[in-house]
Amino acid sequence: MVNSYFTTSLDEALEIRNTKPVIPYAGGTDLMIKADDQASYLFLNKIPELKQIREDEEYIRIGACATYSEVLHHRLTPQILKDAIIELAAPAIRNLGTVGGNVCNGSPKGDSALIFFVTDALLRLGSSRGEHTLPIKEFYLGRKKLALQNDELLLEILIPKKGLEHYYYKKIGARNALAISRVSFAGILNVEEGRIKNCATAFGAVSDVVVRRPDIDQMMIGKTIDEAKDTKKEYLAAYDETIVPIRGRVSAEYRKSVCMNLLQDFLETNGI
């Protein structure tokens, strides 16, 4: 007997999530690959609160069930996220797939998740007990392991509004459309009054979780471009040690050299 649930009310969805062993269904583009007749899905795709895209003073707030197309065409969406979505799958998938689904799929290859990592986005989780917000880095505990309780749903993704202008994004796939990332990289570097104000990098599809190491990027912060050039060798060496790719459809060696090439290109683009 199949027990799947459809609702347009968030309260009801949280209640069902709390009382039944359901699998949250957002856009379905990952779940339906292994469609399970016996699964108990909770369909979230028509809950208005989960589809809103809005802003407050500090953040752009994207509802977990906003589709890629809705995010792509929204005036509040930062360009770095738009760039990633344009290269994601193809129009028909972008019309179904959601940013929340991409995050909760837990894959290190998620193209929008990479952008949420590099921007240090926050996730707002809710349950019938209440809600809380945590940094995306703390949400990913390991391969497909998430800090999401059985009664919780991802409600919103909060992207900081400031400091996203000078970004670098590249996705390496086997072809242009419908390609799963073999390596993806995003970097943000802002210089203010001659000094690097923030430097953030994220590597997707290389290990169990997106690689985001603010402690290494810290080496660049506060430096002038000339000082950053002197630090470059040490900075690259730190990432060289950190990035230990998994072997997938392509070899670990290939992934590693692409990562390092992209990181170098990111620095060179910024004159470092």
């Binding site: 583009t29 007749d37 129009p91 019309n95």
Partner: protein, 155 residues
């Protein structure tokens, strides 16, 4: 029962909510225009228009479409826009085996309704989720370009 609008008519499906829209269209409603190519959203042969947007019907669970509007190639074939596209495809021999064509036409429709005068790059992006193993795409791109001209004012 799952209630939705199919090609302009309100219908009720007895399907299991976890079933793929593609299978229900073909098996319950005997609409076989949407083809099953891959069942993983990679080929576009099962494309339909769901709430005015192109989707892969193999990626849609029935339980998610309560109250939605679905148009398949069978419904679309009754429109003037279809006539223009169909002629444009035929004129440049953009159809060979035909398996991808129902999806390809619906992708063309969604592209033109969003952007009535697409350039070549935009056309290729618009149909990037629809694989065709016969034509090499050039004739299809040309057909869409011609349809945009011939069907001026329709989109």
């Amino acid at each position: 029962m799952i209630k939705f609008i199919l090609n302009g008519e309100e219908v009720n499906s007895k399907a299991n909510p976890n079933e793929r829209l593609l299978d229900v269209l073909r098996n319950e409603f005997c609409l076989t225009g949407a083809k099953c190519g891959c069942k993983e959203g990679e080929c576009g042969a099962c494309s339909v228009i769901l709430d005015n947007r192109l989707v892969n019907s193999c990626m849609v669970a029935m339980g998610s479409i309560e109250g939605s509007t679905v148009m398949t190639i069978e419904g679309y074939s009754k429109t003037d826009r279809f006539q223009v596209l169909s002629k444009a495809y035929a004129d440049v021999s953009a159809v060979q085996c035909g398996f991808c064509i129902p999806g390809m036409l619906l992708a063309s429709e969604c592209l033109l309704s969003e952007n009535p005068h697409p350039d070549e790059e935009e056309i290729r992006r618009g149909i990037s989720g629809n694989l065709c193993r016969c034509t090499g795409y050039n004739a299809i791109v040309k057909a869409i370009k011609n349809a945009a001209k011939e069907g001026k004012g329709l989109w």
